[in-house]
Every structure is written in structure tokens, then in C-alpha cells.
């Protein structure tokens, strides 16, 4: 029962349940399913020991010909993202419950399939399993947005699909190339793949394939053009999940494949980091001038992703550790911010940041939560956002102090656009129609309280999680020997 497989199949079971029961129970079952997944994951986590070993493993022979195994397991890297996934899904489902009359059973079924795909992706223990679930995660979200998104959703989601699949086919080519090089007859786990000796030129090709794939998925500049469209046209509760979890898939993949292509990363470190930095500054400047809430958050997310990617590419202990921690932190903060955007847009039906002006005077609670999340997004000390960014900047400084200085600029820009966003949407002249705002419901209150507590808890007491991130970093054995 302790096998990771039961966690992965858990949501699928509830999806089946929804399919066979009445529509009015669908949301409740989906919420229960995702909530129980969270608790089940926490139970697995309680048995997790700090070690380099992969725990709660599940593996069976899967694909003949390349002798790949279907292999899942918990390790110190995957638990960060699994925690985030399990945490964000109930929030997304809670947010979607207020649109209940527009949602059919298929919505919740697809969401739960998406949860299964993501759990499988983050716990995948070899590259073929990783690839299949990387692609699989796209499909349910594609269908959800296709059916429930905004007016221009078809174009946005199509762009998203074409971009992502282009990237993932490149990754598939890289994986096939990698396999043909090493002549692996049995694809079982990451450690085995990391042990392969590959020449620098071959690594460069593999890096080119996977970097484009992950840069599209995250997204990173200049592969980001699908993002703002999708975030503003997509179904908002789903965008909470996409912004918080799916955007980490690319970075997670980069971490997973780090050891395979470490020589190439060290060799091309400078140009890649500079690309990330351009993206960070560019996205921050664009975010500054946005008047649509979703678009602003999309560009803010792009800026943060660039930062995390730069941290990974420094190939230093602190940079990697900070990146891993920041992936979790940004996930929580992004989920909170998109949750608030959804909550505001549900009431005002206006995507402009000016649409809810002056609401702070009648909704002080909301304004407080929003403010704390904004601070975490900016990276203020004692919030979760600070620790990760600090580590990343430290890592960058160790590589090159100027890079660190430029990346540091993004903190300032970040403060500008985030606080501008907060100020315009919460303060100012109250719009007439906003007087009869429905107060935030109990559900929304709970979600926001939990998120704010998490943000503060990770900010005040990061050490146990930093230890785990350190564990994850320590698994990059090759790296340590090279530095």
C-alpha cells in the first residue's frame, strides 16, 4: 500500500467515481479525491527519510525494444513538486466550485486525470516514464481550456499545444539520441542514466533538445509567447494550477536532466544564464506596463521562472538549492495570486487591474492576504520568496558578480510592478458598482489563510525544507566532484 503507485492512481479512482455518479456530486468528489491525495502524500512524506535513496518505489517492465521500465518513486527532489501539486489541486477545485452551473462532470474528470499525470510526472524515475507523463499532463489541461476557457481560448490553447508539443518532440529526439549513444539495454532509473559517459559534443545536442523543450514549457524567454494569451484566456481556476504547477515542469525537467548534460551546461553556462537574465528584465518591464491582471501575473511568472532557471544553470550548490526551494515557494505564491485574481474577476467580470479599485476599504481581509502574497512574490525577508531568491543571487554572485547585480535588478522591478498592481487594484477611487461586493466566502477565506500561513511558515522556518533541498542537491554527485 505504501507504493507510490497508489498515490498516482488515487485521483484516477475518483475520476471513475465521478463518471458513474450524478453530476451534482462531481465537485465534492473531486475535492475529496484531491484532498485525500494530499493527506495520502503527507502520510508517505512522514515515512520519508533523508537519504539519497529512492523510496516507495514502484517499477515494472513496460516498453519492449528499449526495455524501459515504468518506474515511479519518491526522492528528495520530487517531494517538493509533489507537495506543491497535491496542495494546489484542492485550491483549484475550490476556486472552480463557484462556477458550478457551467461545469459538467468532464471538467472534474479531466482535472483528476491531470492530477494523476502530474503526480506521475514528478515521481517518474527514468527518462521514458518522465517523457510520457510530460506529454500526458498536457492533454487534460488542453481539453479543459478548450471547453471552459474565455472567448479567445481556442487560439490561445492551440498555440500552447503547438509550442509544447514541438518542444516535447525535440526532447523525445534528444532522449532517443541519448539512448542510441549509450546503447542502454535496460532503462531503469536516473542514477543509471547519470552514470553514462557522453562526449561534450553529444551532450551539446542533447542539451539543445531538452533546453528548448523545457524553455517552452516553463516558459523562459524567448519561448514564452504562448503564456500571456493562455493565462488571460484560459479557464481561471485551471490557470491557478497551470501557473503554480505546470510552469514548474520545465524547470523540474532541467534539474532531472542536469547530470546527463552537466558538461554541456558548464560549457555553455554564460550564454544560457545571460539569456535567462534578458528574460528576467524583459518580463519585469513588460509586467510593469500591463493593465490586465492575468497578463501582469503571466509576465511576473515569466520573470520568476527566468530567475529560477538562472539559479539552476549556475551549477552551484546554493543556486540549485535556492532554485528548488523557490520552485515550491513560487508555486504557492502564484496559486494565491491567481486565486485572488479569479476571486476578483468573478465579482467584477473585469480583467483590468483598475476594475476593483478601492476595494480595500470594504474588504480589508482580502486586502491583507493579497498584500502578504504580494510581499512574498517580491521576495521580502521572512516570507518564503526571500530565501530562494537570496540563494539564487548568492549562487549567481559566486559565478559572476555582475550577473548577480543584473538579476538583483529584477527584485526592484518586481517590487515596482507588484506593488503597482496591488495599489491600483486595491486602493484608489472606489468604482460605483463595487459597493455591493459579495464578501469573500468561507471557502475563499480558508484557502487564503492556509496559503498565507504556508508562505510565512516557509519564510520563518525554512531550515527543514532547505535541508531537503540540500539533499536533492547532494544527489547531483557528479557536480560536486567537478566543482
Amino acid at each position: 500500500m505504501d507504493s507510490i503507485l497508489s498515490l498516482i492512481l488515487f485521483p484516477l479512482f475518483f475520476a471513475l467515481l465521478i463518471a458513474f455518479l450524478n453530476k451534482k456530486y462531481a465537485a465534492g468528489i473531486a475535492l475529496t479525491g484531491s484532498g485525500l491525495s494530499l493527506f495520502y502524500f503527507l502520510y508517505l512524506l512522514s515515512g520519508f527519510k533523508n537519504s539519497l535513496k529512492v523510496l516507495n518505489e514502484f517499477s515494472i517492465p513496460w516498453i519492449p525494444g528499449i526495455e524501459a521500465e515504468l518506474h515511479f518513486g519518491l526522492d528528495s527532489l520530487s517531494i517538493f513538486m509533489l507537495l506543491l501539486t497535491c496542495l494546489v489541486f484542492p485550491i483549484g477545485i475550490l476556486a472552480s466550485m463557484k462556477y458550478e452551473e457551467h461545469r459538467s462532470k468532464s471538467y472534474y474528470i479531466l482535472l483528476l486525470i491531470g492530477l494523476t499525470a502530474l503526480l506521475g510526472f514528478f515521481s517518474a524515475q527514468n527518462d521514458i516514464t518522465f517523457y510520457v507523463f510530460f506529454e500526458l499532463a498536457l492533454i487534460p489541461f488542453y481539453f479543459i481550456i478548450l471547453m471552459y476557457g474565455g472567448s479567445n481560448r481556442k487560439k490561445a490553447v492551440f498555440k500552447f499545444l503547438m509550442f509544447t508539443v514541438f518542444g516535447s518532440f525535440l526532447m523525445l529526439a534528444a532522449i532517443i539520441y541519448f539512448h542510441s549513444l549509450t546503447g542502454i539495454n535496460k532503462t531503469s532509473d536516473w542514477a543509471m542514466l547519470y552514470d553514462m559517459e557522453i562526449s561534450l559534443s553529444a551532450q551539446t545536442w542533447i542539451l539543445a533538445g531538452i533546453f528548448i523543450a523545457f524553455a517552452i514549457k516553463s516558459p523562459l524567454f524567448p519561448f514564452h509567447t504562448w503564456q500571456a494569451d493562455l493565462y488571460s484566456e484560459g479557464d481561471r481556476p485551471t490557470i491557478i494550477i497551470i501557473a503554480a504547477v505546470l510552469s514548474k515542469m520545465g524547470l523540474f525537467g532541467l534539474l532531472r536532466f542536469f547530470n546527463v548534460v552537466d558538461d554541456a551546461i558548464l560549457h555553455y553556462q554564460m550564454p544560457l544564464i545571460i539569456l535567462c537574465l534578458i528574460g528576467i528584465i524583459y518580463a519585469a518591464l513588460v509586467a510593469w506596463r500591463q493593465s490586465s491582471m492575468s497578463r501582469l501575473l503571466a509576465y511576473s511568472s515569466l520573470s520568476h521562472m527566468g530567475m529560477i532557471a538562472a539559479g539552476i544553470l549556475t551549477a552551484s550548490i546554493s543556486g540549485l538549492q535556492g532554485s528548488i526551494f523557490q520552485m515550491l515557494s513560487h508555486g504557492i505564491v502564484a496559486a494565491g495570486l491567481f486565486f485572488i485574481v479569479d476571486l476578483i474577476m468573478f465579482r467584477t467580470n473585469n480583467s483590468s487591474i483598475y476594475g476593483s479599485a478601492g476595494i480595500a476599504s470594504t474588504q480589508p481581509k482580502l486586502a491583507t492576504y493579497f498584500f502578504l502574497l504580494c510581499l512574498a512574490s517580491v521576495g521580502l525577508p521572512l516570507t518564503s520568496g526571500f530565501i530562494g531568491e537570496f540563494d539564487i543571487l548568492l549562487g549567481l554572485a559566486n559565478t559572476n558578480i555582475y550577473l548577480s547585480a543584473i538579476a538583483g535588478l529584477s527584485l526592484i522591478f518586481g517590487a515596482i510592478y507588484t506593488l503597482r498592481f496591488y495599489q491600483k487594484s486595491m486602493f484608489g477611487e472606489m468604482i460605483e458598482s463595487n459597493n455591493e461586493w459579495a464578501p469573500i466566502t468561507l471557502n475563499e477565506d480558508y484557502v487564503l489563510i492556509i496559503l498565507v500561513i504556508l508562505v510565512l511558515a516557509f519564510g520563518f522556518f525554512p531550515s527543514s525544507w532547505l535541508d531537503l533541498a540540500d539533499q536533492a542537491t547532494a544527489s547531483f554527485v557528479h557536480l560536486k566532484s567537478k566543482i
Partner: protein
Amino acid sequence: MLSIVILTIFATVVLYLGFLKNRNIIIPIALFAVLLAAYCLLSNQNLWNNWFMNMMEIKDSSKAFSLLILFTAACIIPFLNVFKKRGSEELADFSGILLYSLIGGIMMVSYSDLIILFLGLEILSIAMYILAGADRKKISSSEASMKYFIIGAFASAILLFGISLYYASSGSFRLDVTVVHSSALLNLSYLLIFCGLAFKIALVPFHFWAPDVYQGTPTIFTATMATIVKISAFGALYQFIRICGANMSEWLYWLLSFVAILSIFLANIMAISQHSVKRLLAYSGIAQAGFILIGLLQFQPDKTWIILYYLVAYTLASLACFFACHFIEVKNGNDDHSAFKGLYYSNPFLAIVLSIALISLSGGPLTAGFMAKLFVLTNAAQIGNIALVVFALILAVISLYYYFRIINLMFTRTNIEHSWQVDMPYKGLLALLSIGTLVAGIAPYLLVNLLK
């Protein structure tokens, strides 16, 4: 051999059943014949197996190809029901001719003498020319039949030319004859035989007939063309490469690789601008054939299952597509893109079946189509053709565009949504095809062990 005899007898019987007033027994009898033939193959009946001086041998791989042909036919035959209202004569004619075409298919995949290949190809093709014109009153159907006939005759002539050159250079029609040295004439004969078969498969640059003929032919027989004819022609090509591959010179391999890449590229580009879904599926079939050809080029005796797996995956998905197309055509009168609009809201079952099939064709994860592409490409990469793999994958991205455009349309709401249903037995068949696609994609070992 026994299965061919059974099919011949039943096909003739079915033809004469047209004289009876009772239309209801024709389809069950045809179905019974196909299943009986499949049973004979499965149970290793070796009655009359050595007839015709071993000019054809049904064993191992050719048995698998034959079974695949029979399985596909068993899926198609129930749909002949649409001809029921036209009277028992036509129903009997088309059922009988379809059964005859299977004989040709089985001969094509199990020949060991080129005469049998030609015979099989002609039996299959002539049956298909007639079936293409089954909608006699429609000008497009007659046009398709005529086009197919003229181009098909041309292809047969090229094949025959190749066979005669083979005879000239090797002194025998048999495939397994020992060739002393690989001469230019022999390679030319290989090339011509390949061209003849490529016409039937519809590989670029021999593909021009495919979209026109597919569009005009009644959808059920388009499905036959896209599956049974392709399987047979690939089976024939497989048999040829398996036995004669060693004698082929290097440039022929390069040429075939080039044809494969060109097929994937041109077909995908052309498919983008198609409005008729049947035309689109014709181009998609050409692109898929390019992938199968990549698998064939890297022939190793223990990797036969890769090609079979790809063919099974392709057959499952394209049967589902054509059947869905058939229902849409019956409902809306045409197979235009716009006819698929809002399908999910009027007939969710059909939309889901079609989505799974299209995702499988595009190589989506956990479907048979993905595994098939993975097998073919990893095999090609292991042999060292990594450039081929990268090209094929990048070109496959284009195919996503037209497959998902249909999915996009199906999930678009329209104002007029009359909910309608597919009849129960057909529903079961379609569900079976989808489940097959998913099971083969999630647990490939099941199918692969079967194919091995």
C-alpha cells in the same frame, strides 16, 4: 491455404445470395467466413499448404499480416449495412467483392514467388476499383473508381516490368533464389517493384491519386483502402525486403529513406489546407506510411513486431476515424470540417472515440500511436540514423496542427445541437477500437508478446 479456399467459396456463395429476397443473412455469413478463415490461420491448419509448388507460404510474419487483414475486414463488414436499403443484390455484390479482396491481400503478404504477388495485387486492386465506384449514382464515386483504375493499372504495369527484370537478371520468379552478384539490372528491378507497391501504399511521389480517390469512394471502402490495401502492400514490401534486402545496394536504401522523409513532409504540409476530412485522412495515411517505411528500412528479423505494431496502431486509429467520418457523413451529408463542429455536445461518445484516434495518430502519450512511433524511431536511432529520427519528429509536429484542428472544432459549441446516437453494435465496435488503442499504448507488452 485453407483460409483462402474458405474465403473463395464463401465469397462466391455470398455473391449468389443476392438472388434471395432475404437481405439479413448476407452480412452474418460474410462475417462468419472471415472469422472462420481467421480461425483456420490461428489453429495452424496445414491442409493444402504446399499447393502451387510452395509459391506462397502462410507462416510466421505473413500469418500475422493475414490475421491483421482479416481482423480489419471483420471490423468493416458490419458497416456494409448501409447498402441494405439498396436491395440485396448490391449488398451481396459488395460483400462478396470485399471477401475476394481479402484473398488478394493474403496472397500479397505471403508470396514467395513474384507471380503470386502480382496475382494477389490484381485480385485486391480489381476488387477495390469496383468498390470505389460503389455509389453508382454519385459522379464523385465514379470518378474515384476511374482514377483509381487508371493509376492502379499503371502501377501494376510498373510492378510487372520490375518482375520481368527480376526474372531477366536472376533467372527465376522466386524470391529466395540465390543471386550470384548484385547487378545494376537487379537493383533496377527492385526499384520498379518498390515503385509498384509504393503506388498501392500511396507514398510520395506516388500519392497523387490518394486524396481524390479517398474523397470520392464511399467512406466504408475508403476505410478498406486505407487499412487493408496498405497492410497488404506493406506486407508485400516486408516480405520482399526480408528475403531480398541483403542484395539491395546502398543507394536504394538511401532512396527509400528519402522517400520516407519526403512522404512525412509533403503529406503533412498538404494536409494542413484540406477541408474535407477524408482527404485529410488520406494525407495523414501517407505520412503514417512514411513512418512505417522507416521501420521497414531498418529490417532485422527479430524486429518484425515493430512494423506489425505500427500497422495495428495505425489500423485501430484510422478505422475509428473513418467510421466516425462515416457516421458524420450519413448524418450531415458531407465530410467537411464544419460538419464536425460541436460534435462533443451533440454526440459525446463519437467525439471521444475520434479524439482518442486522432491523438493516437498524432503520437500522443499512452496511446498505441505513441508507442509505435517510439519503437520505429528508437530502432532507427540504434542503427545510427539519428538524422532521420530528428527530421521525422520535427515534421510530425506539423501533423499535430491538422489533427488537433478537428479536435478543436469538435469541442466548439454551436447553436444547433441535436443530440444523436450511434447504434448499439457500432458503438461497441468503436469502443473496442478505442480501448484497443489505449491498452496497446498503456501496456505495450500485451500486444508485442502477441505479435512475437
